[in-house]
């Protein structure tokens, strides 16, 4: 069971109050992009054993979308942060580094 803190309403709740929204920080490619970019955007996802970034929605709560950084192996949550960002803020990256030195995920480290 995951315990997530919503960065918008400040509630700390277990995962059934939220709904998972898949991988975070995808770069969207539209109809004008190359076939390779479009395919990657639609189908290629990370499937890490360890540090992962996801989107979640506080569906049975304030209704807002948020981001979560967590470990798929231990279910440890490194932190949650707002959805209006293209990459994890520094304090989230620092929190991950403190627990998983040398971590990388797509282009982030």
């Amino acid at each position: 069971m995951l315990i997530l803190e919503c960065p918008y309403c400040g509630v700390t709740a277990e995962e059934t109050e939220f709904h998972g929204g898949g991988e975070a920080h995808l770069t969207r490619h539209g109809p004008d992009s190359s076939e390779q970019d479009f395919e990657d955007y639609l189908f290629q996802r990370e499937n890490p054993k360890g540090v992962h970034f996801e989107r979640w929605r506080h569906v049975n709560g304030c209704g807002k979308w948020l981001h979560a950084a967590r470990c798929t192996l231990t279910l440890e949550v490194f932190g949650t942060y707002n959805a209006q960002t293209f990459e994890p803020p520094k304090h989230i990256k620092d929190a991950i580094t403190a627990k998983r030195p040398g971590w990388t995920w797509r282009t982030f480290s």
């Binding site: 309403c9 709740a13 109050e17 569906v59 049975n60 304030c62």
Partner: protein, 191 residues
């Protein structure tokens, strides 16, 4: 003119706590910039209440304003005062980016009363009811449906808990509360 009725027309159940649908309740969804002066002024002029802080609910006789999300409030007034309140809000917010909509008939409202009222909710929601403070509104779920609840007035979890859910699931919500309040199923945790 049709005769407005609430979802369950005041259904009641008496178990180890009392469950009651409170009947018609005026409710307005108000969205916009909660940090703006115009919004605080609009809430004040329409209800006499101040704009609630994060996850708080301001309550007075017959009126309440609840914080629902960073850009949404729920304004509660007597059912017959909704149009008047909408006019006041529209006037105060004219020219700003906002939305004020009557949702009274889209919701159902219950009260759970008694020393073990908190236990009834705690059976159904994945939250720590013991940590619910007076004046706080908690949006969560009751079994499979979204719901919001708060303590009425200065009550504690051993007083009256007010619950609001969507009207389309009113019967489900009432049946949940009723089953959780059934005599012989007392928990005695928060009571």
């Amino acid at each position: 003119m049709s005769n407005a009725v609430s979802a369950l027309e005041g259904a009641e159940f008496n178990g180890f706590a009392e469950v009651r649908e409170i009947g018609l309740q005026g409710m307005i969804t108000l969205r916009g910039d909660l940090g703006s002066k115009a919004m605080a002024g609009a809430v004040k002029s329409a209800t006499g209440l101040k704009l609630p802080e994060l996850r708080r609910i301001e309550q007075a006789e017959g009126q309440a304003v609840a914080w629902m999300s960073p850009d949404e409030l729920l304004v509660m007034v007597p059912y017959e005062d909704v149009q008047k309140t909408l006019v006041a809000l529209d006037k105060a917010l004219k020219g700003t980016h906002y939305m004020a909509v009557d949702v009274s008939d889209a919701r159902a409202v219950f009260q759970v009363t008694g020393p073990a009222a908190g236990d009834v909710i705690a059976k159904l929601a994945p939250i720590d009811m013991g940590a619910l403070a007076t004046g706080e509104i908690r949006r969560s779920r009751l079994a499979q449906i979204p719901a919001a609840f708060w303590l009425v007035g200065d009550d504690t979890v051993s007083g009256t808990v007010q619950v609001v859910c969507f009207r389309s699931v009113a019967q489900y919500g009432f049946d949940l509360l009723k089953t959780a309040a059934e005599n012989g199923t007392e928990v005695g945790f928060l009571a």
